[in-house]
Amino acid sequence: MGTAATAAALTRDPVRQAAALAMLGLTLALLFTVVQAPDVALSQLGVGTAVTPLLILLTVRKVRRGGTDGQPPPGHSEPGDRQRE
């Protein structure tokens, strides 16, 4: 769990970060289940598995399409933040 969070924090490229974030969501859901909080785990699964990566990747796609070729523009927004509980 801590490893996944560290990996997510240390990753720079947003696409790879989305993968690390999906991993983090899975471990977090597992942790919630082990401490017997299935409702929270279910929320985490629902938001973290598909919706957050979709939002991040859509934003990346938009930003890269709009930006100059070859290098992603700095300072992209992370729409997943809004969805976290």
Partner: protein
């Protein structure tokens, strides 16, 4: 601590650690393999833990993960392979 809980611990310990290792290194499509296997492992772990805790309603978690994990993986493959506009070192970005 019964056999089911032990299986859950083994799955989430010995099984998830390699997935984490793979999903933290390399190109995005290589990481995706790790995330995908982790999804399967966690779903199975949910089922085993539900049996171990004696709460059959926890199986809903595995059901939801079984439905959502393919969707999440398809999200990634859609954006990794299906995007002709993807610039960078891979491929030639086509102008719109």
């Amino acid at each position: 601590m019964n056999a089911w809980l032990l299986a859950g611990v083994v799955l989430s310990g010995a099984g998830l650690a390699p997935c984490m290792w793979v999903s933290a290194r390399g190109a995005p499509h290589l990481r995706l393999v790790g995330v995908n296997l982790a999804g399967t492992l966690v779903a199975v772990a949910f089922l085993v833990l539900a049996q171990g805790f004696g709460r059959s309603s926890y199986q809903d978690l595995a059901l939801v993960l079984g439905v959502l994990a393919p969707a999440g993986t398809l999200v990634f493959t859609r954006f990794l392979a299906g995007d002709p506009h993807r610039p960078g070192p891979s491929g030639t970005p086509e102008p719109e």
